[in-house]
């Protein structure tokens, strides 16, 4: 213990490099992840705007790019998907918010392995650089889709991209290593560093959902790494794991990929839900409805997430007898998520709701995710999927599930924890403008794609004018593209708000939202080591508006009987 205290004292005298660059403080690492993710989100978003431009006006030159042929289009779509899932969603939801809130919420001074945490970020950042480097190598970046299906991804003859796909695999591998280290850290921290009184049944829901997410990430990523090694060997060492004409099996890749790829959806969704579930009770001034039920639903969803992967493969030629059990499991996994959604709605029921920006984004996320979840039921049924598979319906569906948890919940989290990260409050006015623009343009961009998909419009076609039967769908693409450009421009208020508040924002008090969890009992931003004295937790995290209490909130450290302490 003495060693730890000495180490912390010494940390205060660190120079610029150890304090801000090669930092071991979880709060600094969280911010590093956030910056990296926001930068990658900007790149991924601009790519989306560019290939959407191509879909709306196929004969026009794309601004900032020039004429976009099929190869360029596929590169853009591939890189957009890869960046958004692995280099935006995971670093925001796990890297930034996981790192920020886990130690603070469980009353720990830092992560269990601070240096491993630093390594996690730097390995991830090298992964970002490697992936972006693949854009400029000879032969171009990977056009093989974010799922990298062989045989297309397997031989340079099929795509013309040799180093592009190799670097794509390498960049992903580095990202996996980064989050593997981070995930080990998250789990070990929650298992070993909870403060006195912080039982598992008093953890804030986001902590549960962060560790549930990394647990399924850790269990599912191994087979994909194995598959990635085999794919790389196919490309550089002449093996034929996935080449059918030499005895290999391309479906093997699909199994290995989706064994990871589907749990990955929940790796992203659960922390996003966690953010919403933290924010809803604070701004509804009510205890979370069904705290334990939500936790059990999380656990059940994690187990089910490992046995639904083949629903991505209904039309790949798998045995129909295999498709049916996967279809049943897929429909079943919507049950725990439906319960969580209902619990969130019930939390709002008769609450004293106030619509600050974090709450607006949480509610926006809830509403849009609902639409994503409901459309997933059609796709989860193998019979309906035969028609809808690989159409824009799928594109609209997964954007309706991922955008709410990554961006609506992510922005909600940024607005909510910004005081804890930077010590300043963000502008409410700009925040509301940002929300309105994001909400309107997101829906305007993706509702037309549901219609394109239902009309039979397939994805991954670089021009809607390529086939006669797609030509009537062209106007819908124009609507979607205009809305996408609006969605990208709608982020300008956020960027201004994010930067300006940091410089000139109003200084934040320790607990600006009157929230209960432990991170609000310390200064904004918290000092290195977080807590002067280890806090003692006496109650659950959502004791709002308790009968007989003077205030409508009880910090988790308040004595069990009597009035809460003023902080």
């Amino acid at each position: 213990m003495a060693q730890v205290a000495v180490a912390h004292a010494a940390e205060h005298e660190l120079g610029f490099w150890r304090k801000y660059v090669f930092a071991t403080d979880h709060k600094v690492i969280a911010k590093q992840y956030l910056w990296a993710a926001l930068l990658m989100a900007l790149i991924g978003g601009l790519m989306a705007a560019m290939f959407r431009w191509q879909l709306a006006w196929p004969d026009a030159s794309v601004p900032g790019w020039g004429p976009m042929g099929p190869q360029d289009y596929m590169v853009m779509v591939t890189m957009h998907g890869t960046i958004m899932v692995f280099f935006v969603a995971m670093p925001i939801l796990l890297g930034a918010f996981g790192n920020l809130v886990i130690p603070l919420m469980i009353g720990a001074g830092d992560m269990a392995f601070p240096r491993l945490n630093m390594a996690s970020f730097w390995v991830f950042l090298v992964g970002c650089v490697v992936l972006l480097a693949s854009l400029v190598v000879p032969g171009g970046a990977s056009p093989a889709g974010w799922t990298g299906y062989p045989p297309l991804s397997d031989k340079v003859e099929f795509t013309g991209s040799f180093w592009g796909i190799n670097l794509w695999i390498l960049g992903l591998a580095l990202e996996f290593v980064g989050f593997l280290l981070g995930g080990i850290n998250f789990l070990t921290t929650v298992v070993t560093l909870r403060t006195r009184g912080m039982t598992m049944w008093r953890l804030p829901l986001i902590v549960w959902q962060e560790i549930a997410a990394v647990a399924i990430f850790l269990l599912s990523v191994g087979p994909l790494v194995a598959g990635a090694i085999m794919l790389l060997l196919d490309r550089v060492a002449g093996t034929a794991f996935f080449l059918p004409h030499r005895g290999g099996d391309p479906l093997l890749w699909q199994h290995l990929f989706w064994f990871f790829g589907h749990p990955e959806v929940y790796v992203i969704a659960l922390p996003g839900f966690g953010i919403m579930q933290e924010i809803l009770p604070v701004f509804a001034r009510k205890p979370t409805f069904g705290y334990r039920t939500i936790i059990w639903c999380t656990v059940v969803a994690c187990f089910l997430s490992l046995i639904v992967w083949a629903h991505h493969m209904y039309v790949s030629g798998i045995d129909p007898r295999l498709a049916t059990p996967f279809s049943i499991a897929t429909i079943a996994i919507s049950i725990p998520f439906a319960i969580m959604i209902f619990a969130m709605i019930a939390t709002l029921w008769r609450g004293s709701i106030s619509f600050e920006t974090p709450m607006l984004f949480s509610l926006g996320g809830l509403v849009t995710f609902l639409l994503g979840g409901v459309t997933g039921i059609f796709l989860g049924s193998d019979t309906a999927d035969i028609y809808l598979h690989d159409s824009y319906f799928v594109v609209a569906h997964f954007h309706y599930t991922l955008f709410p948890v990554v961006f609506f919940a992510g922005f909600a989290g940024i607005y909510y924890w910004y005081p804890k990260m930077f010590g300043k409050l963000m502008s409410e006015t700009l925040g509301r403008v940002h929300f309105v623009l994001t909400f309107i343009f997101f829906n305007a961009a993706f509702i037309p794609l549901f219609m394109v998909g239902l009309a039979g419009g397939p994805r991954r076609i670089y021009s809607p004018m390529a086939y006669d039967l797609l030509k009537p769908l062209q106007p819908l693409h124009v609507v979607a593209t205009v809305a996408t450009i609006g969605l990208v421009l709608g982020q300008l208020p956020f960027i201004v708000n994010f930067v300006m508040s940091m410089l000139w924002g109003e200084k934040a008090a320790a607990n600006p939202w009157h929230a209960n969890t432990l991170e609000w009992t310390v200064d904004s931003p918290p000092p290195h080591g977080n807590f002067a004295h280890p806090p003692v937790v006496t109650r659950g995290p959502y004791d709002y508006s308790m009968p007989g209490a003077k205030d409508d909130w009880y910090p988790q450290t308040a004595p069990f009987s009597g009035q809460p302490q003023e902080t």
Binding site: N185, T188, I229, A237, G238, T239
Partner: protein, 200 residues
């Protein structure tokens, strides 16, 4: 509201007044869950490839050296014992501890060297990774395991070196236990892979 307060009356939390440093043993066990799934992925690929092939091993391909590899494996298995022996000594006899760790790493290195010799012989006989699924799965699985052993040998050498330089001031440091657990994982995994790849 949700439950009675616990931990206030002494009991479980009484002694945990300040945050404990992270426990490397917990960390390595979580990591091993991930490693197990990684090898499960490779083994699945092997089983799928074998099931899809008409004959296994294919006609005209060299046979794997079952007995020679069993001989090599003995070194690796023995290292599992010497690792355990090292842990017995680490609190009472630092010199002996350091010696046993070095012996463990040495046995691992011998295993790797002998396996390398076998690989060269197999390559001379014409078993290449590019000559079919048989060679590809063999080199991938055995190679992945060999890389794990090599990494673990490097870690053990680091432990031995730091013990020699008296950097392990706290002999009960759980990091050493974590390294040992990782070593037993790569040792214990090998018989399974051997049975799958060589004996089937």
């Amino acid at each position: 509201m949700y439950e009675k307060p616990i931990g206030l009356n002494g009991g479980r939390y009484a002694e945990a007044e300040s945050p404990k440093p992270g426990d490397p043993v917990v960390g390595v066990l979580i990591f091993l869950a991930s490693e197990t799934m990684f090898f499960a992925g490779l083994v699945t690929a092997f089983l799928v490839s074998r099931a899809a092939s008409l004959d296994w091993p294919p006609l005209g391909q060299p046979r794997l050296p079952v007995l020679a590899t069993a001989f090599n494996s003995a070194f690796l298995l023995a290292s599992g014992f010497t690792m355990w022996r090292a842990l017995q000594d680490r609190r009472c006899d630092q010199a002996n501890f350091q010696r046993w760790v070095a012996v463990t790493a040495g046995l691992g290195a011998i295993f790797l060297a002998l396996q390398g010799v076998e690989w060269i012989r197999l390559l001379r006989f014409g078993l290449k990774a590019s000559s079919g699924l048989y060679g590809a799965t063999f080199y991938t699985i055995v190679g992945a395991h060999a890389l794990h052993v090599a990494a673990a040998v490097a870690v053990l050498l680091l432990v031995a070196l730091r013990a020699r330089q008296r950097h392990l001031a706290d002999p009960a440091w759980r990091g050493v236990t974590a390294c040992a657990i990782y070593w037993w994982f790569v040792v214990g995994l090998w018989p399974i892979l051997y049975a799958l790849v060589y004996l089937s």
